[in-house]
């Protein structure tokens, strides 16, 4: 049932959870590339400059994928 619900949801108007996942994915890729090229951790600002998304929004997106549960939890608890 969870699968079906998720399927339906993903095919409706884009949910925030989905766009957050995209942002997080790009941030993770940018971080890995930076690590490979510079042998050190990039700062949030360097990632932000790379993918053209604000620092705060990147932080939010990375949090969202870390706790996927909170995004799928029903609202009425």
């Amino acid at each position: 049932i969870g699968e079906i619900r998720r399927y339906l949801r993903d095919n409706n108007a884009i949910r925030v959870s989905r766009s957050l996942r995209d942002t997080a994915y790009r941030a993770i890729c940018a971080r890995e590339l930076y690590l490979k090229q510079n042998q050190k951790e990039p700062s949030i600002e360097e990632i932000a400059a790379e993918i053209g998304i604000g620092k705060e929004d990147i932080v939010y997106a990375l949090d969202a994928i870390q706790s996927p549960m909170s995004l799928y939890e029903p609202v009425y608890t």
């Binding site: 949910r15 925030v16 609202v75 009425y76």
Partner: protein, 146 residues
């Protein structure tokens, strides 16, 4: 439990604008909005917070309070942005499209018009010397999905 509320208080500095917007968006996420709904709400909040900083406090020190309320049953998001800055002499006039007291700042005078356009309800309470309070509401999940 039908309601959920939060209050955020922060300093009137440009660097705090995006953090305030993200905090509101993260709170609003509990209503499971679409990307567009969040973008609309963020734009409206941005205008209100920028007004508090530029007009309310004239870029001087001051505190801005943002209060968000979620109606979890009706799926309504309400946000109040409040400053204790200079206030507005004539609210009705200030809300007219294109009206601005800072043309030199390259402001468009469309801030209130944007808030009205992106939210379902907009209410402005202001008195000179007391400050300004902007209350906005937006129902989430009404627009039929593609």
């Amino acid at each position: 439990m039908r309601w959920n509320t939060m209050t955020l208080e922060f300093e009137s500095r440009p660097c705090n604008e995006s953090f305030a917007r993200v905090s509101a968006a993260a709170f609003l996420a509990q209503l499971n909005p679409t990307v567009e709904e969040v973008a609309d709400v963020k734009t409206a909040i941005s205008e209100a917070v920028t007004n508090a900083m530029i007009h309310g406090y004239r870029q001087e020190k001051g505190k801005i309070q943002m209060k968000c309320v979620l109606d979890l049953e009706e799926k309504v998001f309400q946000v109040t942005v409040k400053d204790t800055g200079v206030g507005i002499e004539n609210v009705e006039k200030a809300m007219e499209p294109m009206f601005t007291t800072c043309p030199e700042l390259e402001r468009s005078g469309m801030g209130f018009s944007f808030m009205e356009a992106f939210m379902d309800e907009l209410e402005v309470r202001s008195h000179p010397g007391w400050g300004t309070e902007v209350v906005m509401k937006r129902k989430i999940g009404v627009h039929p999905e593609m």
